[in-house]
Subunit: 146 residues, 6 copies
């Protein structure tokens, strides 16, 4: 099991999340991989989780029925949120808000076929006080087998 | 205080950390900004902290004497480590190891001069079992006023 | 102070919580011990705490007035919730819900009389997305001197 | 996706871990499921992780090569350790030690075939000061798709 | 950088927060230092954060516009809340409430001029169940460069 | 159960810990209360725990045999350490060190006799990089029924 140099699923997810509207970073994921992007801004961490899950199911990145893939995605989201929140996975309850772009990428980043599919969730944007401009950047990445 | 579009300190730091040896992402930070990069691999979180602090002082990103700037950098490092470890800032004690590239960037990412200097620490690489290849990607970003 | 083999207060509490309606595990706690059981399902961690406290006071496991025993029970509940939530003691705010059976057992599990009473809180059930069936099992146990 | 009443993988794992040498709880897991048990006592959390991983690979519960199954098991172990340690996944560094029995069970606990295999890690035993008898019971359960 | 014996910013902040209405501890901070005090009681951690921020801005301890000083204060508040909550920065969601006095002190506690201003936030009061008297004391201190 | 104004066990413990060698704050605890003080400096959190436990037993604050009182003290120490470390109860593993004075106070802070004895552990000193002077103040308080 070796991470293939040209199949860095986390790097792809990060670039997609940082891309913004101008597609600053042209990202071409390996064929047969799936990915989606979206935006969410909230003081409510539940809404961030829901926005990503909804997008990933709607875009067919994970199966919308069954639990297995939802479970894999959920923990990737929670890991990404850990990076964004750095310590306590809390937003409004500690008086802060986020404005995030997210991406979800699915594929096999390893050279061995039998490693199967993995899922990467990247979040990039700002975190700060609920006052315009009182914020700095933040990033998070969660990766899980699926 | 508005984050200037072309002075995203966190984005610059992330791209520098993801750049690898080939300079995949040509990063031109604003003039008068300072930055450095490095690599560290360890099961010992203390060594990760030390490697970044040493590089930042040696490269003149922060003052090597005095406490103020060291304090600012330290907390940026800890925030970045939170993203990498997602939950417990522990490596060897929970049987995992990291192989990371890091970057430290210093400058003012806001449109207002009086926001002064900020520091961004980005970590990108792999985390996993202490067995070659048993690892996936991870990222962390910490930003602090300095 | 040695844990007596036939007075494992935590094991009793776990079996009571896992018993379900059919009393799958016949549990006979030492005479003079006290215990109660109950069920609670919620996305609101506050409701889980309240359900257990209310039951323990109503059933006379702890004194309903005074702070001392309430304090002992509270921390046993929080410890049990840590096992259920594994990391962040949050439910709805990270989009998950629990369906739990709980038990509270009070008695002296040690061979020495002077170790006095201890309290065990066990939680067993499911945790998962707020979608029927999207869940897996979870357990938690908190033990405190009282 | 509904948890089948007679295929509670977490409950099986807990009973196996609580069984002790006398097989107090006769556990018959569904045919085609795999399970193993073991003991580990340490002030070093790394040793607990290693003991479970080694047993699970040696007994063929997970594949000993490849990363995918190791990754699934690792996070189940960490979840189980969260329940045991309740807050900080630390042992010796906060002056405490554990004496644990563990079990690892692999199988599909859902009624739907397509939910595939899941893995449950249960830990049961004592946690306390590094002084004989200065300890109380503790439990932890981690469940992951594999 | 040496902490000056007579400029212990944290000690001053703690004494101010513990002072109560009777000024039990006469506190004379160095000239040119700034400080303010206040009270807040809530099950809502967001309200604690907001009360301190509002007081610090209203009393001119930090600039009310711009992000830099708000960011410094915010993290000092979060550190102080960590001491008060000891583990999870949660109040009502885990069924507890606080009654706190707070102080914010700004000045240079070091012998070297170039260490510049630092900010200390102290919280002292009670934490407990939402029942009168079911509470014990708690303290927290956060210190940051500003 | 009401905290008696003149029996603030936490406040006494904090003042004792902040007293230094000059007895800056004359502390007279209620008769029949017990207290001890000490100093510990370390990058090793285990040593901090051990120093406090040893002092409390040697000075007769808690019984040196039996588990019950040791258990109560241990959790008070851990709570106090949470305030000192604010987030992760780690010192050397995240490259920081502490220089602390500690106090342990035992008595009944409530107006009602039946609330019995409680124990307070206070820590006050500095935390910072393992470089002389690169440090700021820190405090922690843990209170438990005993």
């Amino acid at each position: 099991m070796v991470l293939a140099i040209d199949r860095r699923i986390g790097k792809y997810a990060i670039l997609l999340a940082m891309n913004g509207d101008q597609e600053e970073f042209p990202v071409v994921t390996p064929s047969q991989w799936k990915s989606c992007m979206g935006k969410v801004g909230s003081m409510d961490s539940q809404k961030v989780v829901a926005a990503i899950e909804t997008a990933a199911k709607r875009e067919g990145i994970i199966k919308s029925d069954g639990y297995r893939e939802t479970h894999a995605l959920y923990h990737a989201i929670m890991d990404a949120l850990s990076g964004v929140t750095r310590g306590q996975v809390q937003l409004g309850s500690v008086m802060r808000t986020v404005g995030l772009r997210f991406s979800v990428v699915r594929g096999n980043p390893y050279e061995e076929l039998e490693e199967g599919d993995w899922i990467a969730v990247a979040l990039y944007g700002t975190i700060g006080a609920p006052v315009r401009g009182s914020e700095h950047e933040t990033i998070g990445l969660g990766i899980n087998h699926i």
